[in-house]
């Protein structure tokens, strides 16, 4: 499945307050990371309902990466904890939709962690390359 020329498409939900700023920082610091991601900025990781993740994965995305503030740092106090609670539900449902667990990942990336954002994205792209294209194409 995973040929060398497979370039995955990965949707990255980043929160406005931490992770999007981190992505910005990675850019202004000219840190290199693979161009396979499409960033969708949301106000808070807590507003991304599981259906947005499942819909992305069943409509062409090969992976979904969710980035939010570190625990305790949420601008809305507990939005990221909701994202964490939903992550369990999403992981369970991946199985119901015949999707590999590697296709979804939740990571905390603070505004100052530009290099970490690049690292997380690189890891995610490598992992999804290994599992191959989404069965939903």
């Amino acid at each position: 499945m995973a040929g060398d020329d497979f370039e995955p498409l990965i949707i990255v939900y980043t929160c406005y307050w931490c992770s999007y700023t981190a992505a910005d920082l990675a850019g202004t610091s000219r840190i290199q990371y693979p161009p396979n991601i499409r960033i969708i900025r949301v106000q808070c990781s807590g507003m991304v309902h599981p259906n947005l993740v499942i819909d992305a994965l069943t409509n062409g995305a090969d992976g979904v990466l969710m980035c939010g503030c570190h625990e305790g740092d949420c601008h809305y106090r507990e939005g990221n904890l909701r994202a964490k609670a939903r992550a369990d539900a999403i992981s369970l449902m991946l199985e119901d939709f015949d999707l590999e667990p590697e296709r979804y990942r939740l990571e905390w990336v603070a505004a100052s962690e530009g290099p970490r954002f690049a690292e997380v994205v690189t890891e995610m792209v490598d992992r999804v390359k290994e599992v191959g294209p989404s069965p939903y194409g």
């Binding site: 309902h49 599981p50 259906n51 499942i54 909701r82 609670a85 939903r86 369990d88 539900a89 999403i90 369970l92 449902m93 119901d96 939709f97 015949d98």
Partner: protein, 308 residues
């Protein structure tokens, strides 16, 4: 001139037909305007002619076609296509026709496993060969009506309510458009919601707290720890004037019989989101796919193979 109505039933229990008979007095007002030309449940009109003299199935031309039940076998599919070609407006009546309903729970299994488990492998049955001649073959899964032919109006519900049926008929008689509002059961539920569960998951045989008190003082059943399909279920069971949902009125959690809010929604995904959001543990849900898609399996449940 009276409006001609043709009705057929497929994979269904007959409850939706009872709804038609259960309309009560409003039926007297509309009956003079209606002429039933085909309706197996109440009249003797045979598909192959009254003496079986025809070689092909026939449904008379009609203005309105009503089909209840999901499409389970070849005969259902043929009749659905025939009905579609004979009527101007086609109504999918009930959750089985609209979303597959309870029979579509079978979609969790591949057809061969169903045969094996329900018919051949059953210890109380002397299994014969699978009939091939006179019985229509099963399709690979249960289909909702709109997956087979174009449907103009969906009347959800298990069964759908008499007043929703009458409202749809009245709109058709007047020539005005009819649609069921896209509201969820939660939108019409009077209980108190604070977006936080106050308990871990409970079994349905435990009693809801607040029984006997006015519903507006009771805590949301899901936040009390009971699985309630309200967030992912269309409102309408409380009547066309958006009354309190019927199960909620009886202090019971919603079972989801009015199906998802839109034809493309997946109640399982919405429910898993809703319950994890308020702090219930999604890992504790027994058989999530069937529990949350109890009435909406067609096109949503993924088949798996049973071993042993």
């Amino acid at each position: 001139m009276a409006v001609r109505v043709a009705q057929e039933w497929f994979a269904i229990c007959g409850g939706c037909e009872v709804t038609i008979l259960d309309v009560g007095e409003p039926l007297l007002d509309v009956l003079p305007e209606l002429e039933f030309v085909h309706m197996p449940v109440i009249m003797d009109h045979k598909l192959y002619g009254q003496t079986g003299e025809q070689t092909a199935m026939e449904i008379p031309e009609a203005d309105v076609g009503i089909i209840s039940g999901g499409v389970r076998n070849e005969e259902n599919r043929e009749l659905a296509e025939l009905m579609r070609s004979r009527v101007n407006t086609l109504i999918a009546m009930g959750s089985c026709a609209s979303f597959g309903g309870v029979p579509a729970l079978a979609n969790q299994y591949v057809l061969e496993d169903l045969y094996e488990r329900v018919y051949r492998g059953n210890s109380t049955t002397d299994a014969g060969a699978t009939p091939s001649g006179d019985v229509p073959a099963l399709l690979d899964r249960v289909y909702a009506l709109h997956e087979v032919v174009n449907v103009d109006i969906h009347l959800p519900g298990c069964p759908t309510t008499p007043d929703m049926f009458v409202a749809a008929l009245m709109h058709l008689l007047k020539g005005t458009p009819f649609a069921v509002a896209e509201k969820s059961v939660c939108d019409t539920c009077p209980t108190i919601r604070e977006k936080k569960a106050v308990s871990t998951l409970k079994r349905p045989l435990e009693s809801v707290e607040g029984v006997g008190e006015p519903l507006s003082q009771a805590r949301c059943f899901m936040e009390q720890g009971f699985l309630c399909n309200g967030p992912a279920t269309r409102a309408g069971c409380g009547g066309m004037d958006e009354g309190v949902p019927r199960c909620i009125r009886a202090y019971m959690p919603c079972r989801g019989c009015f199906g998802p809010l839109s034809l493309s929604a997946n109640p399982m995904v919405d429910m898993m989101g809703a319950l994890s959001t308020i702090g219930l543990d999604p890992k504790e849900i027994p058989d999530r796919a069937a529990t949350f898609n109890r009435f909406a399996g067609a096109g949503r449940l993924q088949p798996k193979r049973v071993r042993g």
